[in-house]
Symmetry: C2
């Protein structure tokens, strides 16, 4: 009896970013002289902080010496990095031991690997969601229960209405694609639900650096969470590591699901599924947690947040409803005139030559929204926001014509890629 994994049939095609790229390419072919600006990018653009880069380069050189060469890294990370991550939690008043920190090459890897911890479970997921949470659990054959993030619940789903039975609940805060964060009361409600129902919280804190000195950075700030929650953290957005690849998970010693301690299973799974993270990468990550590294990487976060304020001001000026951008690089913006995510994508591309990310690409409940990212370079973000929403006098002509585009009634569902108003 042969057979490929039938879980693949449950996955949608990886439509979103491929389709964005396809439509952009189609437009560019027809208009090679146009400059397209992107607010679609979910990737950082600031260079690595100098101490981080220097630590990685030094480790690379060390590996060419007889004394400094290192082979297989420890399966769960070098002690120096596990300790540095634990110390970062301690600095926020959260008690996590180095042995509860598991280093990996990315939060996405961890999120996908996590799915294999579970058997016949129901996974509760915000809709829209970062896609790996949906895809990994569908592929593993799990049931999904979607929790719509809507204007009514402030785009932060609560456990209200969820049966008090064991779920695996995947929460991202600050969110992606919706750049809003749970407060202490909201997370306490989830921890209480988990404790009362025998559920497990998988808390994705990849964007916690954008909270600055406010908000809840770790689920382990919430009393009672250590028995019912695990956490994913990442250097990707805090220290600009999307091209360096380093992240971590926290599995408290006492966390269980279905009565089974999870840390030993996680250790078994991780040491089966990977041979660990490169030594120079771990040195770079540790450097990002030194005072000099933190100062440099926090500067980058402030840069992106200043970008986000630029977009926010433009949105408010144009009277466009949105959330996010305060403790996140992402803004979640309502499409005008009740049009669809892809329709607005087309208008932004064709009429303004700006790339946005259709919200529906992250889940059905994202229909009618787009995600704007502030992770680009200042000048690009400024000009793109001006093109879309005005506020930049140098592009007045364009912004006023954009306002016109809000009133356009599209004759055909598919916009021809040849028309331009500029």
């Amino acid at each position: 009896m042969g057979g490929v994994n039938h879980g693949f049939e449950r996955l949608t095609a990886q439509y979103l970013f491929r389709e964005v790229a396809k439509r952009r390419a189609a437009y560019e072919t027809g208009h090679p002289a146009d400059e397209i600006l992107s607010l679609g990018i979910g990737d950082v653009t600031r260079p690595l902080a100098p101490p981080v880069s220097a630590a990685m380069a030094a480790a690379a050189r060390e590996m060419a010496t007889r004394e400094g060469f290192r082979g297989y890294p420890p399966a769960f990370g070098y002690d120096f990095l596990r300790a540095a991550i634990a110390a970062r939690y301690a600095a926020r008043g959260v008690s996590v031991t180095p042995e509860e920190v598991y280093v990996s090459d990315g939060a996405k890897t961890d999120a996908a690997t996590l799915a294999h911890l579970f058997g016949d479970v129901t996974v509760a997921l915000p809709d829209p969601t970062y896609p790996v949470y949906r895809d990994a659990h569908l592929l593993a054959g799990h049931r999904l229960r979607l929790l719509p993030a809507t204007a009514e619940n402030g785009f932060l789903p609560t456990p209200d209405g969820l049966p008090r039975t064991p779920h695996v609940v995947c929460l991202t805060s600050p969110g992606n694609p919706i750049g809003v964060a749970y407060d202490r009361a909201g997370l306490t409600e989830w921890v209480d639900f988990a404790r009362g129902s025998g559920s497990l919280l998988v808390f994705d804190a990849a964007y916690e650096a954008f909270l600055g000195d406010t908000g809840v950075h770790s689920i382990f700030e919430i009393p009672g969470s250590r028995g019912c929650a695990v956490e994913l953290g990442s250097f990707s957005k805090s220290a600009g590591f999307t091209g360096v690849r380093c992240a971590w998970s926290i599995f408290p010693r006492e966390v269980t699901f279905d009565g089974v301690p999870l840390a030993p299973l996680w250790e078994r799974l991780k040491s089966m599924a990977s041979n660990g993270v490169a030594y120079p990468v771990q040195c770079a990550a540790a450097a990002a947690l030194t005072p000099a590294g933190l100062a440099a990487t926090e500067k980058n976060v402030r840069y992106y947040l200043a970008n986000a304020r630029l977009i926010s001001r433009a949105l408010r000026g144009a009277g466009v409803p949105y959330v996010g951008g305060e403790v996140s690089p992402y803004l979640w913006v309502r499409c005008p005139d009740g049009i669809s995510s892809w329709e607005w994508f087309d208008r932004c591309l064709v009429l303004r030559q700006v790339i946005v990310t259709p919200g529906v690409g992250f889940g059905d409940a994202g229909e009618g929204y787009v995600r704007l990212s502030a992770l680009g370079r200042r000048e690009i973000v400024r000009r793109a926001a001006a093109r879309l929403f005005g506020g930049d006098t140098r592009e007045k002509a364009q912004s006023s014509s954009l306002m016109v585009s809000y009133g356009i009634k599209m004759k055909n569902k598919r916009l021809k890629m040849t028309g331009r108003s500029r």
Copy 2:
């Protein structure tokens, strides 16, 4: 309905290397002055080649510049590295396009991820085997059919006796833990079986560099394989990347299983399960494939093979039956007097202060054997081989007393960790 993955119950504890470490530690505690030498290590020890280290350091520095910064790597690898790997195949007369090359952070990661391609399948595996093949498929709920590697079949299982039904067949050549390699006839037999039965071959070529100018380096050297085989390659043992983490898989466009083209599923799975490999790591890997990089890394392989010849000579001198060590850093050695793998491990540790790897740790059919590794430093390998099997006049006294230890009749199954003959 909650539940952890019941597949965990099918896994044995990660006994092997932990148990080795435990017994070593117990001995060391009792004999702190003794110097223990290891032939157990499955990890490289030679430093990175200078051009490789330099490329990685340069890329790390580049990432700190505005112009040189790179965010998320392409999901399947940078074009420069995919092309360099394809060119390496072309140099051996094997036609693989860059688009068929998928870069990853390790062959182990790929081997584990691969299991999720399949549904309800039977996986045919050599016994003993590199553990991830057994564990990942057990965890995924697949059936295993073990193919004992024995002296009778030259430690190279054939398809003889396998039902001609679709299997996923995982082969490693040169092997791990048994350091022998299939020849062209042997692999042709497997390709013929796969074509005739609708099976898929997963060919692990992580040790191909040890073949030098002989043997079959890629399953795609065998006619007809492109429709029924995928391949895993690695920089770990060729270029000493166990601490750098870079590998690749080859999925030919035409490869199918159960009538389904596999490359699109692999792309979906890989882009779900990872965000790719660090740019500096990929630069290092590309440097390892330049003429200067190849010259330097081939020198390291020759160094390990010279170590293996040292061990081989000692084994032959002592009349101990073994295979391997010619096109592999591993030697597979028959335990004396019909004793078990762990019994001989204990004797080697207690009587000779040398670490070996019990063959039974890789599968039941490995009982009665140990794996010796030539990946250590020359001086350590030389002295360990002399301690175990004689041949080094400087350690004559020890080698002759070792010969005595061959005749020891163990009174108790568990050797007391206090007795020493030296």
